[in-house]
């Protein structure tokens, strides 16, 4: 179970890195990935993007993606390219570049690709929107929860949590009930105590590992964002569940619990671990 949860968190990290909270267990030192960047020649890259030559355009877009926000000046050019359209290869690269640029203005140009017939473009657009953010991105990702593409629905569900789109909570609950499991994490990120309870009430109805992806988010919300009482209610539910997998999950939570956080919650978690036998050596 632990492995499963961690895998989900790792996926979430990929989706939301730089766009929100990253679970402590999966946080990796970003600096290790940084590469030295050559100075950008915006004018030259702009000319390449308008060349009409697929290879040159792809190379330019790769440069922009590598440069990330440092290539911000080229944002209008990437957006213009997305608007006028190009081959699937070029658009895929442009979406990656738009995501790397992280400019809210790009969301409007990226959003139409969420409804493209090419699966790769749809999913690339969804990933880009999670990074570009803003009202247009949230609107598009909410609509994408209704998509025929399960992959798009999943990225959209994750992305809405990462973007802090509380207004999407009703849709996320509907999506979760229709087994868009990624919605659980987002609900955990976005819910207020009453909504968190509504989520917790699904314990036993949805697979446990889906529920824990949301519980994990709730329990690890900063103390100023989620009360101890709300967290204790989650712990109580899990203790009442009394299953071995609940115990293992709580033991995992106890192991990651920040030392400076609520002692009362920690004691409750420890007691629940004991009550559920979760402290025993995991058999997985």
């Amino acid at each position: 179970m632990k492995r499963n949860t961690l895998a989900r968190l790792a996926i979430l990290t990929v989706l939301v890195s730089g766009a929100g909270w990253v679970p402590a267990a999966s946080a990796a030192p970003k600096a290790a990935k940084a590469k030295p960047k050559a100075a950008l020649d915006a004018a030259a890259l702009r000319a390449e993007l308008e060349s009409g030559d697929e290879a040159r355009m792809l190379a330019a877009l790769e440069r922009v993606a590598e440069a990330g926000e440092a290539a911000k000046a080229l944002t209008p050019d990437v957006e213009a390219l997305l608007r006028r359209g190009a081959s699937a290869k070029v658009i895929r690269a442009a979406l990656t570049a738009a995501g790397a640029l992280r400019q809210e203005s790009s969301s409007a140009a990226v959003a139409p690709y969420l409804r493209h017939r090419d699966e790769g473009l749809r999913r690339g657009a969804a990933r880009a929107l999670v990074k570009t953010g803003g009202t247009a991105a949230v609107k598009a990702l909410r609509a994408a929860l209704r998509s025929p593409d399960a992959g798009v629905r999943g990225v959209a569900a994750s992305g809405l949590g990462a973007l802090g789109a509380r207004e999407a909570l009703p849709d996320l609950f509907t999506a979760l009930d229709r087994r868009v499991d990624e919605a659980a994490t987002s609900i955990g990120q976005l819910c207020e105590p009453e909504e968190c309870e509504k989520f917790a009430a699904r314990l036993g109805k949805l697979p446990f590992e889906v529920m824990t992806s949301g519980f994990d988010q709730i329990l690890f919300r900063a103390p100023e964002k989620m009360s101890d009482d709300a967290k204790l209610r989650i712990v109580d539910r899990l203790r009442e569940l009394g299953t071995a997998e609940a115990g293992k999950f709580l033991a995992d939570v106890a192991g990651r619990w920040p030392a400076s956080w609520s002692k009362r919650v920690k004691q409750a978690i420890d007691a629940a671990v004991k009550a559920t036998g979760g402290g025993a050596e995991a058999d997985d």
Binding site: R84, R115, H116, R117, D118, L145, A175
Partner: protein, 593 residues
């Protein structure tokens, strides 16, 4: 050979084998008979056609694994008889005749009480008639041949016993005369106690049964020819005759079963695919201009004259037998329920039950009248119900019904077709047929617009997009410009098929206004270089045409840029060159020229 009694005289081993017997027209079933132009049958009709025949009260007889179950169509007098039968029973007036266990026997239809039972001599029942006193029965071998007609009174006295080489059909008896069809074209009249024919009828149509319908006798094969004072003109096709026009119907059902064959005790497809019609009082038309056609679980009411579909009933189990009654039809299904259906509107006039599933079923409407009943919705709704049946066996009839539905101009038909084309329950072949019919609709635009407003929506459980292509075709043909915003939105819906998108784009060439510019421009830009299938390529080119029409200078610029962009797909570029107007030459270029 058993003891035979003919006309009260005790004879031993008396048989007629098609020749060698003299008297009247000579021996029964003689192949040497000379056509008398209807003279003898005309004389017989003058003498006996107006004799009173008792009309049965309306009865259904089911064959079960253990015997017979019987019920009156009015729900009265339910009885059963244990003992297997080897052929389909016959209802003759108020008598039920059957063979089984080496016996041929007659039972009182009202009570099940046996009238008589004789050795069947290894033969099985083909048909029977009864005049209230005497029962005439034709028997034969199960594989054909070995024909015999007997006539037996209520006490079990055998008044006639004629064996014949030709195949004998289902007989009737009236005023001491047995009428026996044979060889598919003759009806011989033989008086009880005799072995000679007193009259013979030659029919131009095939004849294998003499049937009592109401108070009259009819000679049936392909059509129904009444035994009345015009029967002598049958050779000139001037007898009183009711003919059902031949029409293509699912499974090619027939009106009259072949009376020269033994119908097996277990029903087959031919029993479930059948026509039912009742001659009108004049004998030359069918009552209410209506007949019913069954195809397993579906029953259809059709107009005799026009063939127009009047109603459709969907039953819970295949129909195994039935009859046309006054005012309607009585259809017996495999569950043993007999459904009473109003002839005009297909109303539900109730049902009676034989009480258990049956292997086959015989119904004689007799004097029973189907009256009243509750409506089962509009014809369109009835067809929809039938077409939604998830039963592969029904597809032929469902396709037929869909076609008929499409010919109705009622706007509700459009809604039904949309529902059928959109429903996941509709078999794929029928959904495709519904789409074709939709494309040709010119009414019900409001339903089309409503349907186009729907899109695939995972959260709302709308998991199948509307049939965009046929709706686009129909709305374009109707010049419904209010469809344009909806069609434009579908251009960018990945749940729609490429074919749907192509048709939407083509419709927009005619219907779009500048209000749809953004959606069309977006589609054009997103797909000019990524359209991988021919329908999408066609859609992009159609979108370009629309942009040129409604997009002004900006629209033209966009299309020209795309046509010049090496990343635009080659097939799209060719198409764009075809729709772009010639480039305007600049003033400088003109001067240079």
């Amino acid at each position: 050979m058993r003891r035979l009694v003919i006309g009260g005289a005790a004879l031993l081993g008396l048989t007629a084998c098609g020749s060698g017997m003299q008297g009247g027209l000579g021996s029964a079933f003689s192949p040497t008979w000379q056509n008398d132009g209807g003279k003898s049958i005309g004389a017989l009709a003058q003498r006996i056609a107006k004799a009173q025949l008792p009309v049965g009260r309306g009865l259904a007889v089911g064959v079960t694994t253990s015997g017979l179950v019987v019920i009156g169509l009015d729900g009265s007098a339910k009885w059963s008889r244990a003992g297997a039968v080897d052929a389909r029973p016959a209802i003759a007036g108020d008598v039920v005749v059957a063979t089984g266990g080496g016996r041929v026997f007659a039972l009182d239809a009202r009570t099940g009480k046996p009238f008589w039972s004789l050795s069947s001599e290894g033969r099985s029942l083909r048909g029977a008639g009864d005049d209230g006193r005497v029962t005439a029965v034709t028997l034969g071998g199960r594989g054909g041949g070995d024909s015999v007609v007997i006539a037996v009174d209520r006490s079990g006295r055998e008044l006639l016993h004629l064996e014949a080489k030709p195949e004998l059909g289902a007989p009737a008896v009236l005023a001491d005369t047995v009428l026996v069809p044979w060889s598919g074209q003759y009806v011989s009249a033989v008086r009880l106690g005799s072995r000679d024919e007193t009259a013979r009828l030659l029919l131009r149509d095939k004849v294998t049964r003499v049937m009592q319908i109401g108070p009259h006798l009819y000679f049936g094969g392909m059509s129904l020819t009444r035994f009345d004072d015009r029967i002598d003109q049958a050779g000139a096709n001037r007898a009183t005759q009711a003919v059902l026009p031949t029409r293509p119907l699912p499974g090619e059902p027939r009106l009259i079963d072949d009376g020269t064959r033994v119908a097996p005790p277990v029903a087959n497809a031919r029993d479930s695919i059948h026509l039912y019609a009742r001659p009108a009082a004049d004998g030359a038309h069918f009552a209410g201009d209506r007949y019913a056609a069954t195809y397993y679980r579906i029953a259809m009411g059709l107009a005799v004259d026009s063939g127009a579909l009047g109603w459709v009933r969907t039953l819970p189990a295949p129909v195994l037998g039935g009859d046309a009654a006054e005012g309607g039809f009585a259809l017996c299904d495999a569950t043993g329920r007999v459904w009473l259906i109003g002839a005009e509107q297909g109303t539900d006039a109730g049902s009676v039950s034989l009480g258990e599933p049956v292997q086959s079923c015989v119904v004689s409407a007799g004097s029973f009248t189907v009256a009243g009943g509750k409506s089962l919705g509009s014809l369109a709704e009835q067809v929809e119900h039938a077409v939604e049946l998830d039963d592969a066996q029904m597809v032929t009839a469902q396709g037929f019904l869909l076609e008929r539905l499409g010919s109705l101009s009622d706007p509700v038909v459009t809604k039904v077709l949309i529902d059928l084309a959109s429903s996941t329950r509709t078999p794929p072949a029928l959904a495709e047929a519904a789409r074709k019919l939709l494309a040709g609709r010119r009414s019900g635009a409001e339903y089309m617009l409503e349907a186009l407003g729907r899109e695939y929506d995972f959260l709302s459980d709308v998991l199948r997009p509307p049939p965009v292509a046929p709706l686009a075709d129909a709305l374009a043909a109707m010049d419904r410009k209010d469809a344009a915003p909806l069609l434009a939105r579908h251009l960018n819906d990945p749940a729609d098929s490429p074919e749907d998108i192509e048709h939407a784009a083509r419709a927009l060439v005619k219907l779009a206004s500048p209000a749809e510019l953004e959606e069309i421009r977006s589609f054009f830009s997103l797909y000019r270089a990524t359209a991988e299938r021919p329908p999408l390529v066609a859609a992009v080119i159609a979108a370009a045409e629309t942009l040129l029409r409604i997009g002004g200078a900006e629209g033209e610029k966009l299309v020209r840029s795309a046509a010049a962009d090496p990343l635009t797909r080659p097939d799209v570029r060719v198409g764009l060159d075809g729709v772009l107007p010639p480039a305007k030459t600049t003033a400088a270029e003109s001067t240079a020229d």
